[in-house]
Point group: C2
Chain length 220, copies 2
């Protein structure tokens, strides 16, 4: 499998979508340049969540943008999603890998250098590192790590798995995305900067311009 | 597979356990005569839920009492539970069967005659019918159906699947369990009458006496 393209990870969350239809939102950000879409729904009922995940998967399929479900391996499997994103309160990665199979995408949230040193990197396809900046999209139990903290975690992960795709997460927008890529991430994971933007597709295009420009500089 | 023994289904729920340890509670009610234990946890984080389900499964295994998880196919699979119990807001039965495999137990909540006529009985191992009586264990969206309503649903299910094990659920205790069995159920599903009893094992023994006595009369 080609390494996952993490340049712009769009997280869609019914609690952070400003009343927008999540399927439309997912389609628009993908059309604007999101390279991976994640559904995060911590409060929905399972039946509705499966229906929503299925609809998002169908909307993204023609755009060839992969789709993962936060936490819920059952929903990912039922909806035919491409994988799951696992946080510290979710199922252990080894359990998730056993249930979802060897070919599905598993992403893992990593918040500390210690977690980076201990994470089962051989079982995952990407890591989301943060929270980089302060955010209102999620209760933050710990202080933002900033680009400096991000760089330290990137170093540990690159030491263990040089090719593992990494993105920064939390409070990232077009103004600070460059610093996240500058700190060594391969992309940014974004919620509000897309979901609550007046034009989510345009916001995705703008974020991709920023990210792609810094990646091009890094590559050259 | 032998038909499931539904004489006393104990539902353990962290929100309805009076602060009791759920593993101890599951063990005690099984020692007292519960024939199936269900974990219902609508608010926990996935990681904690898997750990709890695994601990309950281990506690019940020496007693040969099967164990199902409400709603969460992912938790059931990760914890090695015997199956799942599916309600109207949970994953569709066909999806659950596909994910959990042909040998796992699937129970289905049935609340109306219409649902009884339409349910995919060929995919399930038992049905829980109700709410029979008023209960404080769960928000009830509709009025209790009473033993008469239960009998009507039992008739429809028996017409379609004569051997499908059936239990009544909601507000059932040692005082009204006889009426539930009298209406045609093979057993009772109970939360508070066990979980909040001073001695859950003794409460389970008493409920089994009531249920077994009426079943013996029906059988003779």
């Amino acid at each position: 499998m080609r390494p996952l393209d993490l340049r712009l990870v769009a997280i869609v969350d019914p609690g952070r979508a400003g009343g927008r239809d999540l399927v439309d939102l997912a389609r628009h950000v993908a059309e604007g340049g999101a390279t991976l879409v994640q559904l995060r729904d911590k409060r929905g009922e399972t039946r509705a969540m499966v229906a929503l995940a299925r609809a998002i998967k169908s909307a993204l399929a023609p755009l060839s943008v992969p789709f993962v479900v936060n936490d819920r391996v059952d929903v990912a499997l039922a909806a035919g999603a491409d994988g799951v994103h696992i946080g510290p309160d979710d199922m252990a990665v080894a359990d998730a890998r056993r249930l979802i199979g060897p070919d599905a995408v598993i992403g893992l949230s990593i918040k500390t250098v210690e977690a980076a040193a201990a994470a089962p990197l051989e079982l995952i396809d990407y890591a989301g590192i943060g929270g980089v900046y302060a955010t209102t999209s999620k209760e933050q139990a710990s202080a933002p790590i900033g680009p400096e903290g991000l760089a330290r975690i990137v170093d540990v992960l690159h030491g263990r798995a040089p090719d593992l795709p990494l993105c920064g997460i939390a409070g990232i927008d077009a103004d600070n995305a460059a610093a996240v890529i500058g700190a060594g991430a391969d992309g940014v994971a974004v919620i509000s900067a897309l979901s609550l933007a007046p034009d989510p597709a345009a916001a995705a295009r703008r974020l991709r311009e920023v990210v792609d420009a810094i990646l091009a500089k890094r590559g050259s």
